[in-house]
Symmetry: C2
Subunit: 412 residues, 2 copies
């Protein structure tokens, strides 16, 4: 059985949510657990209460809005994402996944459909990590990655703790973290990349998440005057860093599969001056791959290239791995449910791996999970200019509706 | 006729001067026209007055200390440099060139030698440019590069003008800038580079100054998330900048003559983040060469490589030339006088071009000029650790004495 969602109604709810915490250039600012974030949640709850849903909040503020099914003894099928934004964020990142869940509830209500399993619409707290680092901390707590105490003790820039902000927001709940258990979890999200748009496809069937590793790299050479120091006697830290960046870029660009991704996001030269040879450079390296073995090989190559670049320029090098996030494979059945729904609707799609982290990464550790991507303009997100068309939002929501209905089963 | 200078006495005057404005780690802080700078000048004047010298100050504080010769109708042969330092500067940069002049005066006095031409010991104001930008502003004013009014109006970080600081220092003179005319000018200076030390040579016979050109370079790509953006769809501003740096470094290193010098001193990524592809990079480029035609070719190559790197990475590039300082050739007779003196003393030496700017660059526009370099440890300057051995300082001073005596002529 399939139920048609209402693209126009979904769009209107997206635009209504965007009125809370608007920014100058058409984006949104609803930092986690601020008044704006709380107002966004209350608006969602108003809409859901009108549908007769009840809701609970766990101890780290994760919000669970329940649409009862025929079988109260079964674990719910869940839909969700987040409502918080970056300081100058967009109207879709996270929000689409939440309001698509609302739209599914409304579409089911309209037709008086009761599912076998209950449904849960989940709003995870502080996904962005802009106010409280790290990102996805509350879904991570739900999944057991972080303790409740450590999460509540995290502080923002002003020294306010997560726990204090949670109290102030009115969303401090008493449900133990980890409840309710979920039969499965489905998250619709904008792609945050340019692949679907470039290929003119409407849906990304997200089978997992790339493995990611983060490094801090240091180059220690010798600062010296630009003019009097011959090239051959230099120890130029920037020259060594530049060669490393260029080698890694070339290596990644030469991988015809397109699965190797290398990004150097930050480069700093302490006390730099235009006529002084840089004596010290700090560089960040972000390596990603869809295959863990290939990611190991990429790391090894990076370490070798780093040593070679240091040697070429007489510069001491060092690196530290700050973070290692393994390749995530989502649940085969859930992914299959999404792919089948997409195919049956006739939408152009591709199976793909997410390059960014999402709440689904953590949730997938404790519940069968899948994600659905829709294109966003120019691949831009975390930006006021972030945009997804009503049609793409609607298609993503439709696939979501079909997949969760298949998973939850229809009672009547 | 040759006169032996006293290496020990020179060293003692260097160490006595270093007691004024000492820094924690054995360096000096005598920013231009501060109390410390004025105290340094007064100490020098005490020493010179004891020799019977008289002195004048011009309107921008340049100090001229005269040792009379037999022929008052002839222009003086001048020795000089500067006494001001960087905020954490050393004990030799500039100071050696001034105190070597004092030592020459003392050595002549000891032997009762009168020169034909008068001698002038010159202390140029604000050579370093640390307090009032740009560097060498007062010798530049003397040479007609800057107007007196514009120099007096320059301000430090606290808004104090050069003119106000000059008044407060007690060194505001009324001699018109540009007086006295000089027969010739000789400046002894530490090399500020590693060449002489590496070659185990005592003296650099400085025949001129490298040409230098400074550029601001901009790379405008597209910021995007590191994970979801395939390599082939990126517009990575840092990747383009890194390739440019690497190409320019390789080109300079491949020049067997060693005359091509390329330095990228500053690289900035506005709003960088480790998992965001850099959308914007600002880079500085400093090109130097001893030959103006080769420097033209180097500039052309830089512009071509820049365009190619931009194209390779889909990044818009731009550059602006901020400064162009042509190759300077010092006066052949003055350079010859230095070289002859060095050879006759049997000191290991090389003819070389200065890679850094000095007061001599400006002075050479209005008077025959030459410079003498002595090695400094590890090529380090503008640093509290700056060091030159007593022996090298003495040898430099000896060459200076021999050269100016040859130039000025001995009357009795």
């Amino acid at each position: 059985m399939r139920v048609a969602i209402d693209t126009q109604r979904l769009w209107e709810s997206l635009m209504a949510m965007a009125e809370i915490g608007p920014t100058e250039n058409g984006g949104n600012c609803r930092l986690a657990l601020t008044d704006e974030d709380a107002a966004g949640r209350r608006k969602l709850l108003d809409w859901c209460e009108a549908l007769g849903c009840r809701w609970r909040v766990d101890r780290v503020g994760n919000l669970f809005i329940r649409r009862e099914g025929r079988r109260a003894d079964l674990d719910p099928v869940a839909i969700g994402s987040h409502l918080d934004t970056q300081p100058k964020g967009g109207r879709f990142d996270g929000i689409l996944g939440v309001l698509a869940g609302l739209e599914v509830f409304r579409a089911l209500d309209e037709r008086g459909i009761v599912t076998q399993r209950p449904l849960e619409l989940v709003v995870w707290t502080n996904e962005e990590g802009s106010r409280f680092a790290p990102a996805m901390v509350a879904s991570g707590t739900y999944a057991g990655e972080f303790s409740v105490e450590s999460t509540l003790a995290r502080t923002d820039r002003d020294g306010v703790t997560f726990g204090e902000a949670l109290e102030a927001s009115g969303f401090a709940g008493d449900m133990p973290v980890g409840q309710p258990r979920l039969d499965s979890f489905f998250e619709l999200h904008i792609e945050q990349g340019p692949v679907l748009e470039a290929a003119n496809e409407s849906i990304g069937v997200v089978a997992g998440v790339q493995g990611m590793r983060w490094y801090d790299v240091t180059f220690m050479g010798q600062a010296a005057h630009a003019g009097p120091t011959p090239m051959a006697l230099r120890h130029d830290a920037l020259a060594a860093a530049a060669r490393l960046i260029d080698r890694l870029q070339s290596h990644a660009l030469n991988d015809a599969s397109g699965h190797t991704r290398v990004t150097c996001g930050c480069l700093e030269i302490p006390q730099s001056s235009r006529n002084v040879i840089p004596g010290e450079v700090h560089l960040t390296v972000d390596l990603r791959h869809v295959d863990e073995t290939e990611l190991d090989a990429l790391e090894q190559r990076f370490v070798q290239e780093l040593a070679a670049c240091g040697e070429s320029f007489g510069v001491a090098v060092g690196h530290e791995r700050l973070w290692k996030s393994p390749v995530v494979h989502f649940d085969a059945d859930c992914v299959e449910a999404v792919e089948t729904a997409t195919r049956e609707r006739g939408f152009a799609y591709r199976r793909m791996l997410s390059g960014a982290g999402h709440d689904s990464v953590y949730v997938s550790r404790v519940a069968p999970t899948a994600m659905i991507f829709v294109p966003c303009r120019d691949g831009i997100s975390h930006n006021e200019a972030e945009y997804a068309t009503p049609e793409h939002c609607g298609r993503g929501c439709q696939v979501l509706a079909d997949a969760i209905l298949q998973r939850a089963g229809v009672a009547s």
